[in-house]
């Protein structure tokens, strides 16, 4: 099985540790994941802001990068949702029957990380160790667009040392919403501040989710509040082991400007 990592533009440019964590995790589980270097972005920023013509060349690039793989795994529920549910809209806009066919072929092979682990590899215990109190935010697109259900929870519950605390009003949107966070910044922040309040109510040290874009937003609010709660992608927690400790404080320096 040829497996490609779709790291996503946000992770590529802003959160490379998440991509590295996926590579570490999948190799540990025996998957020799490839990184198609032609990849860029899934086109979601353009599609969800209404710029369909601009999305067409991005989706073409996406198809060139990922066609031919048996599975595409991505640490983002939102980007997986765009590939599976929105590429068809872009392809139809292009009027190119070949592109319509290509996205129909490749789209269904895209799996969000927790789906890939649970459904394709059939594992919930990935051998991770993370001795911290953690709360989990199910991001909207992973929850309602993809329907990942309790897969991330099952993965987290199997992590040794991890104490999972329920997040109040977990299913409510954090207010990121892509360009919504900029175009309607006030409303976005109002939603984010309520989400941050719920996170603080849990007493957790770490907020985990499957989308770094949402975490960048909630984490940005928590940071401004000096809340002392850090955000981490699910992949980074699942990649941590006794020998390769992903301590919240130790993990940070890696690959990050200092």
């Amino acid at each position: 099985m040829r497996v490609a990592l779709m790291v996503t533009c946000v992770n590529d440019a802003m959160f490379p540790d998440t991509g590295k964590a996926v590579v570490t995790l999948l190799r540990r589980l025996g998957v020799d994941v490839e990184f198609p270097e032609a990849q860029t972005c899934c086109s979601q920023p353009m599609v969800n802001t209404g710029y369909l013509d601009e999305a067409v060349p991005v989706v073409r690039t996406w198809v060139e990068a990922f066609s031919g793989y048996d599975a595409v795994v991505t640490p983002s529920g939102s980007c997986a949702g765009t590939c599976r549910h929105q590429h068809g809209i872009v392809a139809r806009r292009s009027g190119d029957a070949g592109l319509v066919e290509a996205v129909a072929q490749t789209g269904p092979r895209v799996h969000e990380l927790s789906e890939f682990l649970v459904d394709v590899l059939g594992v919930t215990d990935v051998g991770a160790y993370f001795p911290h109190q953690v709360t989990y935010h199910p991001t909207c697109h992973s929850l309602r667009m993809l329907g990942v259900g309790d897969r991330p929870r099952r993965l987290l519950e199997a992590v040794r040392g991890l104490r999972l605390v329920d997040l109040p009003s977990a299913a409510e949107c954090c207010g990121f919403g892509g360009t919504f966070a900029m175009k309607n910044a006030d409303t976005s922040v109002a939603m984010g501040s309520d989400k941050a309040r719920h996170v603080r109510e849990t007493g957790a040290e770490v907020l985990v989710a499957g989308d770094n874009s949402c975490l960048m937003h909630i984490g940005g609010v928590l940071s401004r509040q000096q809340a002392g709660v850090r955000v981490m992608h699910l992949a980074e927690i699942l990649a941590a082991t006794e020998t390769d400790t992903t301590e919240p404080s130790a993990m940070l320096g890696k690959g990050v400007a200092t």
């Binding site: 440019a13 860029t40 909207c140 360009t179 919504f180 309607n184 409303t187 309520d194 400007a257």
Partner: protein
């Protein structure tokens, strides 16, 4: 009502004012949370709820597919039952028809059943211009009307008011509109409802003409249906001699049988009740019983435009339950006024642009962007309107309407630049190298650190302020993932 939505600013600006209103935020959070819980508990009682939603969507879709034949059948049945049927292309035509009926009966006032469509067409204002007072008789609509206010929710239009405010409105405004509030009126809900009941009863008994909308119009029997909770609708529909009902053409259902799934879906989704207290149905005139002159105004007002939109037409399935408002995290914080329309919330964000058209005014064009696309509305909608799908579709229409502009908006320039970078991995790598340099600068000179220690940008001016005025922004890493993969052969060296 003297207040008007006309001239409201675009959503982001209107929302800013609403977000800064602590009373509004408190009332909305409490009210939407309560109604969400009620809805969730009664929906959970129906094991086949998801199938029922599919049936509801299918019934409305089939009705809309053959709207032309169903409407003609509805007209034929209504006429055969003794009703007078009028067709109105737009708000002005519909208002003129209602005013003409009232004037012909020398009516100086009409009593009204709560109705979204008559608000959509601005009927009260149109009647006022002809010297006819239109009295709202739904308790919350009465509060809104007496307070010279605007509705902020489809089902509970005074959701933004608390009982102290309502007492004050009743004490100061009721006398000018009829029977005054008692001198010893308290803010006890039962006392407030009692004052409204006394006040309204006089109007019910006095009025010669009533105006209503309809929740459904059954074509095969020529029957209009009104679903309500307070009994004020029943009073209006049975006491006056003349009844005029304004009905959007999308309200038609083919058969009596097709009403069944709707009546199961609507109350649970709307008020969170298994069944609503009052359901009134009437098929034209019944001699010696109820109104003896019955008019039905079938209204387009943009609905055929919506019907012509292959993605947007699903919005015409809407049964005005307001479940999408109650679950919407944006609505919960901004309230309804920010949407600048009688149709607020997620459904308003798609219905207004569909009815009014995109690329016409900035306020309407701002509505499809008034959503984080979280999808809670689609999940709650009893007739499965995929609101996020329609929002994205309408955003595309808004953008397309500006493609011919001579000066591009900054956002359009940014999107074109992003598309250029994202169309070729080598270009993206160059952009990432530049952002890595910015990251080094922030890391060296910036003082902000995220919990855990990662360098971050604090408040930055200019375009960055939209993000950083309330949120720290992680500094870009010095090395992108793709650069790391290349440098280390995928971490192997």
């Amino acid at each position: 009502m003297s207040a008007t939505f006309v001239g409201m600013p675009a959503f982001p600006e209107a929302a800013r004012a609403a977000l800064a209103d602590p009373q509004l935020r408190h009332n909305l959070a409490h009210a939407t949370d309560t109604i969400r819980r009620k809805r969730a508990s009664v929906v959970a009682e129906i094991p086949e709820w998801e199938e029922l939603r599919l049936v509801g969507a299918a019934v409305k879709d089939s009705a809309l597919r053959s709207l032309d034949t169903h409407l003609v059948e509805l007209e034929e049945r209504l006429v055969a039952n003794g009703a007078v049927v009028h067709w109105a292309r737009d708000a002005a035509e519909a208002c003129a028809i209602v005013a003409e009926v009232a004037t012909r009966h020398s009516a100086e006032e009409v009593v009204k059943v709560k109705s979204m469509v008559t608000q959509e067409i601005g009927l009260n204002e149109a009647l006022a211009a002809q010297g006819i007072a239109a009295w709202e008789t739904d308790l919350a609509e009465l509060i809104v009307q007496l307070g010279d206010d605007l509705p902020s929710h489809i089902l509970v239009p005074a959701i933004h008011r608390n009982r102290a405010e309502i007492r004050e409105i009743f004490r100061t405004k009721m006398a000018a509109a009829g029977r005054p509030a008692p001198d010893d009126l308290t803010d006890d809900p039962a006392a407030l409802a009692g004052a409204a009941r006394e006040h309204l009863r006089e109007k019910f008994l006095r009025a010669k003409v009533a105006v209503s909308g309809a929740n459904f119009a059954v074509a095969e029997t020529g029957t209009l249906v009104v679903v309500e909770s307070e009994g004020n609708g029943r009073m209006c529909l049975t006491l006056p001699d003349v009844l005029v009902s304004v009905v959007g053409i999308e309200k038609v259902l083919p058969t009596w049988e097709s009403l069944d799934p709707m009546m199961r879906l609507l109350p649970r989704s709307s008020t969170g009740e298994r069944m609503n207290p009052y359901t009134s149905t009437w098929s034209g005139v019944t001699p010696g019983d109820g109104p003896q002159e019955v008019h039905v105004v079938l209204l387009d007002n943009g609905r055929t435009n919506a019907l012509a939109d292959d993605v947007g037409r699903q919005a015409l399935r809407c049964i005005r339950c307001s479940a999408c408002l109650n679950v919407c995290p944006v609505y919960e914080r901004t309230g309804g006024h920010a949407y600048g329309s009688v149709y607020p919330g997620p459904i308003g964000a798609i219905l207004n642009p569909l009815l009014k058209g995109t690329g016409v005014d900035e306020q309407t064009d701002s509505l499809p962007y008034a959503s984080s696309l979280c999808g809670a509305c689609f999940e709650a909608c009893p007739v499965r309107i995929d609101i996020p799908e329609v929002l994205v579709h309408l955003r595309t229409k808004v953008v397309d309407s500006h493609r011919g502009d001579r000066v591009l908006k900054p956002e359009a320039v940014a999107m074109k630049a992003a598309a250029f970078a994202f169309s070729d991995a080598r270009r993206l790598a160059l952009a990432e190298r530049a952002s890595g340099l910015a990251g080094r600068v922030i890391g060296r000179w910036g003082k902000t650190r995220l919990p855990g220690g990662r360098p971050a940008a604090g408040r930055i001016p200019g375009p960055g302020a939209a993000w950083t005025s309330a949120r720290d922004m992680p500094a870009p890493p010095k090395e992108s993932f793709r650069a790391w993969w290349k440098r280390t052969s995928g971490g192997r060296s």
